[in-house]
C-alpha cells in the first residue's frame, strides 16, 4: 500500500562516482548548476550534456532512474516551454489565431527545457550516488567554516540525518495505523473533500503521538550515550580527500571555465534567444 512509495532516492551500486567524497559531489553539483545559467549558445549546452552523460555512465546508475525524477517536473517544463514559445516577441515563423511562434521564442523554449532537465537530472544524480548519511556528513564538513558566523552547522546536519532516517519508519507507522483503523471500519478512500479530510483525524492523531514518542525516546537514548552537540565530537569514519577527489576537482574546474568560455562565444545560428 503506502510502502510502495519510493522516497529514498539512493541507488546502491559500486562505482567511481559513488566512492567520491560527498563534498566533491556537493561542490560539483553546485558548480554544474551555476554554469548552466551562463551559456549563451548551444555549444555550451552540448558540452554540459556530454559532461553529464559521462558522469552518468561512470556512476552505473540506469538512465531510467534519472528519467523518473523528470516526471515530477513535467508539468512545470511544459508550461515553461509553452510560455516561451508563444510569448516571446520577434520574427514570427508560424501564426495561429492571435498567437504566433517566433524564431527567438523557439530557441528560448528549447534552451529553457534543456536547462531545466539538465538541472533536475544533474542534482538527482547526486542523491542517487550518495547515501543520505554521507550527504549530511559532507554538508557538515563542507560548510564547517560557517561556524565562525555562529551557524549551528553540526546541529542542522544532525537534524537532517535524523529526519531522513525517520521517513521510512513513519511511512510504516502510517501503514499500520491506517490498517488498524480500516479494521474498525474507517474509510479513507471515498467521500467528498471535507469528509476525506475528516477521515484523516483517526490517522493523524495517533501518527503525531507516535512521532513525538519516538522523538522523545531517541533524545533520551542519545543523552544516555552522552550526546551533547557537535563540540569536540569525533567521527568513526572521518571524511578524507583522496587522489581521485583532487582529480575530480580539477576536472570540475576545467569543465566550469571551459564550458563558460565556449558557451559565451558569439556564434551565429547557435545563439539562444
Amino acid at each position: 500500500m503506502i510502502r510502495d512509495i519510493t522516497l529514498g532516492q539512493y541507488y546502491q551500486t559500486e562505482s567511481l562516482i559513488h566512492r567520491l567524497d560527498p563534498r566533491v559531489k556537493l561542490a560539483g553539483t553546485l558548480i554544474y548548476v551555476i554554469t548552466l545559467f551562463f551559456y549563451k549558445n548551444f555549444v555550451g549546452y552540448a558540452l554540459a550534456i556530454f559532461f553529464l552523460a559521462t558522469v552518468i555512465r561512470l556512476s552505473k546508475v540506469p538512465f531510467k532512474f534519472m528519467v523518473r525524477g523528470m516526471k515530477s517536473i513535467l508539468f512545470l517544463l511544459m508550461i515553461t516551454v509553452l510560455f516561451n514559445l508563444f510569448l516571446t516577441p520577434g520574427t514570427p515563423v508560424f501564426t495561429l489565431w492571435k498567437l504566433s511562434i517566433t524564431k527567438e521564442g523557439t530557441s528560448l523554449a528549447v534552451s529553457m527545457a534543456l536547462r531545466l532537465s539538465l538541472l533536475v537530472i544533474g542534482s538527482s544524480l547526486m542523491t542517487l550516488t550518495t547515501t543520505p548519511n554521507n550527504l549530511t556528513d559532507g554538508m557538515e564538513k563542507g560548510l564547517g567554516f560557517l561556524k565562525i558566523f555562529k551557524v549551528p552547522v553540526h546541529e542542522v546536519a544532525m537534524m537532517m540525518s535524523i529526519a531522513l532516517r525517520f521517513i521510512p519508519i513513519l511511512l510504516e507507522e502510517t501503514d499500520k495505523i491506517m490498517k488498524a483503523q480500516m479494521a474498525r471500519g474507517a474509510d479513507f478512500e471515498s467521500g467528498k473533500l471535507i469528509a476525506r479530510a475528516k477521515a484523516m483525524v483517526p490517522l493523524l492523531v495517533p501518527l503525531f503521538i507516535s512521532a513525538f514518542r519516538r522523538a522523545n525516546d531517541l533524545a533520551m537514548a542519545m543523552e544516555a550515550r552522552c550526546y551533547r552537540g557537535g563540540e569536540g565530537r569525533t567521527k568513526m569514519k572521518p571524511l578524507k580527500y583522496r587522489g581521485r577527489d583532487y582529480i575530480a576537482y580539477l576536472i570540475l574546474f576545467l569543465f566550469m571555465f571551459g564550458s563558460i568560455w565556449l558557451g559565451r562565444l558569439t556564434l551565429p545560428m547557435l545563439m539562444v534567444g
Binding site: 499500520k176 495505523i177 479494521a183 471500519g185 483517526p202 507516535s210
Partner: protein, 283 residues
C-alpha cells in the same frame, strides 16, 4: 462462522528483485467457535495470514471462504467482512485518537452506520466486557495505564460485535498480571459470546493454557497443526525452527528420562503438578 483457506499464497514486493514469499500454499479450516493459537517466530507469516482474513491484504493466489462464500469473488462486500471479523493489531493502544474513552470505542460502530442509541449501547457493552467501569468513560485514553489503554482498544473492536476475533500479540509488553487479565478476557469471549478466536503469538506459554488448537507457522508454511498436546509432542522439531515449548514440557520429558512415570503430555503447570504428585505417590 467457519473459515476455509485454500492454497493461499502471498508474495511481498511482487515483480521486484526483493520478492519474498510470505505465505506458501496455506490450506486451513477453522470451525465455528474454535480458539486457535497461531504460533511462529518473527517473519513466519503469521501476521500476514491474519491480515488476509480481514481483507486488508489480498492473496496472490488461492481462496478464502467465510461460511462458504469466496471473499475474492466479484461483488463481495469487504465492508461486511470487516464487520464480522474483528482485528486487533499489535499494540492496539497506538490507534486510540479520540478525546475520551467512550467516543473512541464508539468509532467502530459509528463507521457501521448504526443509530446513535445502538452505538452507545454497544460501546457500553464492550467496555463492560473488558472490565472498564463508567468512571473511565470520560477520561482521556492517553491518561490511562498501558494495560487499560489496551483494554480500551480491544473494546473498540468488540463494539463492532464481530463473530470472529483475531488478535496479534495482545499481551506484548504487558506485565504478568495484565497478561493474565487479557487472556482470561479473551477466553471468556469464546465461552460466553461464542466467538471464533484467533490468537497470534510467539509464546507457547501464553497460548498453551487457553487454546483448543495450535497452528505453527514457519517460513510462510504450516509447520504443525493440532491440539496443544499433539503439537508439543514435537518439541524437538519446534526447537529446530526457533520456537520453544512451555517449560513444563521440558521438565516432564527430563523426569521421564530420569525414570519417573510421569505424563509427558502435560502442558500446564497444574497438569504437571498432578502428574508428578501421582508419580511420587506410586513410587
Amino acid at each position: 462462522m467457519s473459515i476455509e483457506i485454500e492454497h493461499l499464497n502471498y508474495i511481498y514486493g511482487d515483480e521486484t528483485a526483493m520478492a519474498v514469499k510470505a505465505l506458501d500454499d496455506v490450506t486451513l479450516t477453522i470451525p465455528d467457535g474454535q480458539f486457535l493459537g497461531i504460533i511462529g517466530h518473527t517473519g513466519s507469516g503469521k501476521s500476514t495470514l491474519m491480515q488476509h482474513l480481514n481483507g486488508l491484504l489480498k492473496g496472490s493466489s488461492g481462496r478464502i471462504l467465510f461460511d462458504g462464500q469466496d471473499i475474492y469473488e466479484k461483488g463481495y462486500q469487504l465492508k461486511d467482512l470487516r464487520r464480522q471479523v474483528g482485528l486487533v493489531f499489535q499494540y492496539p493502544e497506538h490507534q486510540l485518537f479520540e478525546i475520551d474513552v467512550f467516543s473512541d470505542v464508539c468509532f467502530g460502530p459509528k463507521n457501521l452506520g448504526l443509530p446513535k442509541e445502538e452505538i452507545e449501547e454497544r460501546a457500553k457493552r464492550a467496555l463492560e466486557s473488558v472490565g472498564l467501569s463508567e468512571d473511565y468513560y470520560h477520561q482521556s485514553p492517553f491518561d490511562l495505564s498501558g494495560g487499560q489503554k489496551r483494554r480500551v482498544a480491544i473494546a473498540g473492536v468488540l463494539a463492532m460485535e464481530p463473530k470472529v476475533l483475531i488478535l496479534d500479540e495482545p499481551t506484548a509488553g504487558l506485565d504478568p498480571q495484565g497478561r493474565e487479565e487479557i487472556l482470561t478476557l479473551i477466553k471468556k469471549l469464546q465461552t460466553e459470546s461464542h466467538m471464533t478466536i484467533l490468537l497470534v503469538s510467539h509464546s507457547m506459554e501464553d497460548v498453551a493454557e487457553y487454546v483448543d488448537r495450535i497452528l505453527v507457522m514457519n517460513r510462510g508454511r504450516i509447520f504443525l497443526d493440532g491440539t496443544p498436546k499433539e503439537v508439543f509432542a514435537h518439541y524437538k522439531e519446534l526447537e529446530e525452527v526457533g520456537l520453544a515449548c512451555p517449560q513444563v514440557t521440558y521438565v516432564m520429558h527430563d523426569l521421564k528420562e530420569a525414570g519417573f512415570t510421569v505424563d509427558v503430555d502435560a502442558t500446564t503447570v497444574e497438569e504437571a503438578k498432578r502428574s508428578i504428585l501421582q508419580a511420587l505417590s506410586l513410587a
